[in-house]
Amino acid sequence: MGSSALILLLLCGIAFAGAGILLSLAVAKTKKNAQKGETYECGIPTTGTSWIQFNVGYYLFALIFLVFDVELVFMYPWATVVKEIGMPALFEILVFMFILFMGLLYAWKKGALEWK
């Protein structure tokens, strides 16, 4: 079973989800009225759309995440060879992680990690 397994799983996912939803369309009784199409919100009519500006805090965390995720991608190839190379590899990643750790401390000090 080579890489065709991935295609097989993809097709399985599509087939399963698609078949489930289509089957329910076929067997479920549908009777549409105006109330059913409304946005659900505690029983009162909803005001305005939800596609508006909202808290910038989520984006801040996404930005810090991006920095550390790149670090993680660098660490995967490093992790496979560090045992063979030994101390030099450890020293190099220490420098790399130190710089990133400073970044985290900076974000911490600046209050980017506080939820407001």
């Binding site: 079973m1 080579g2 890489s3 065709s4 397994a5 991935l6 097989l8 799983l9 993809l10 097709l11 399985c12 996912g13 599509i14 087939a15 399963f16 989800a17 698609g18 489930g20 939803i21 329910s24 067997v27 479920a28 549908t30 059913k36 199409g37 409304e38 946005t39 659900y40 919100e41 505690c42 909803t46 759309t49 939800s50 596609w51 909202f54 989520y58 965390f61 996404a62 810090i64 995440f65 550390f68 995720d69 993680l72 660490m75 995967y76 992790a79 496979t80 560090v82 045992k83 063979e84 030994g86 101390m87 450890l90 220490l94 992680m97 750790f101 985290l104 990690l113 506080e114 939820w115």
Partner: protein, 364 residues
């Protein structure tokens, strides 16, 4: 009968292959038939697994709250989840008028695909692995984070304030905890020197990493369990759903089978996360071995490898299910504090500790 005695899936596969080869002579048709058989059995396996996990979740909840749980439908209530699935199948799958209809209907499909794709590199038993990718660990962490796209898609396209809030929370939560998950995976990659899950299991032939790697590996195991509970949106990290405050979060507007797809992908994710934890830290299908004690190791080999794999996986699933009834839900600020101020620095230092241990050869 010989197949059943050897407990080997590869011999079963060869047997079926030979049987089909006699019937079908066209090689392309043969391949397609085998693929269809494999696909159908995979889907059947996942459906049975999800039914079982749904039943188990209710029974564990009942066990934790000292009550009976489902006990009416079928023996010991085991058919309850089948009845629920039938009910969901017969429900009307509504799409709100103000929703983005294409994305709204695409989101559950994306969720199911995202959680199903992660199954590929997992070794269910000895010689039973769909595809031993040489970058398996990276693949698992990359594909399992596809789920967040489905959640954001569902939350945004519903055009509902609850849904959008739930989706944004879950976006912030999943991307944050992915870092700790990644770092604790890296600590095992450092020790075994390979990204392939098959190689990682074989590297635990003389003892599981959680025993061989002692304290640093135990720390990364605990971090992995905490962070992956957050990554699959289970309580106490179920900020994205939070029934009491968001009436269901990102799937508020979903009904019927589309809602069932979200539930299904949550259970598949739970299984996958536990299976990965079992593979990396508890040796996957590898029996309990102690380096040097050949007699003892030989006795342990008599227990089939699939039994080892599933018992470890379900042990971890049981622990994660218990979390739900043990801890109260975290607030958003507590959630982000836990990750960024505690788990991330600890796991960064822990990776260095593991590396020093691996280079110095301090592990067994």
């Amino acid at each position: 009968m010989k197949i059943l005695l050897t407990y080997s899936f590869s011999s079963l596969a060869t047997y079926i292959h030979n049987l089909l080869a006699e019937l079908i002579t066209n090689s392309l048709l043969l391949q397609v038939t085998e693929m269809v058989i494999l696909g159908v059995s995979l889907i059947a396996f996942l459906v049975v697994l999800c039914f079982f996990l749904g039943y188990m979740e209710r029974k564990v909840a009942a066990f934790m709250e000292i009550r009976l749980g489902p006990n009416r439908v079928g023996p010991k209530g085991s058919m309850q989840i089948v009845a629920d699935t039938l009910k969901l199948l017969l429900k009307e799958g509504l799409t709100p008028d103000s929703a983005d209809k294409f994305l709204f209907n695409l989101a559950p499909v994306i969720m199911v695909i995202g959680s199903m794709m992660v199954i590929a590199p997992i070794a269910f038993a000895k010689d039973f692995q769909l595809y031993d990718i040489n970058i398996g660990v990276l693949y698992v962490s990359a594909v399992s984070s596809l789920g967040v796209i489905g959640i954001l898609m569902a939350g945004w396209s519903s055009n509902n304030k609850y849904s959008l809030l739930g989706a944004m929370r879950s976006g912030a939560q999943i991307v944050s905890y992915e870092l700790s998950v990644g770092l604790s995976l890296i600590s095992i990659v450092v020790l075994s020197g390979s990204l392939s899950l098959g190689d990682i299991v074989r590297s635990q032939e003389n003892g599981w990493w959680i025993i061989k790697g002692h304290i640093p590996v135990i720390i990364s195991f605990v971090i992995f369990i905490i962070a992956s509970t957050a990554e699959i949106n289970r309580a106490p990290f179920d900020m994205a759903e939070a029934e009491q405050e968001l009436t269901g979060g990102f799937h508020t507007e979903y009904a019927g089978m589309k809602f069932a797809m979200f539930l299904l992908s949550e259970y598949i994710n739970l299984f996958v996360v536990s299976a990965v934890a079992a593979t990396l830290f508890l040796g996957g299908w590898m029996p309990f071995h102690i380096g040097g004690l050949d007699g003892f190791n030989h006795i342990m080999d008599f227990i089939p490898s699939s039994v080892w794999f599933f018992s470890k996986t379900f042990l971890i699933i049981f622990i994660i299910m218990q979390f739900r009834w043990t801890f109260p839900r975290l607030r958003v600020d507590q959630l982000l504090t836990l990750e960024w101020k505690y788990l991330l620095p600890i796991s960064m230092v822990n990776v260095i500790l593991v590396t020093v241990m691996a280079i110095m050869g301090w592990h067994f």
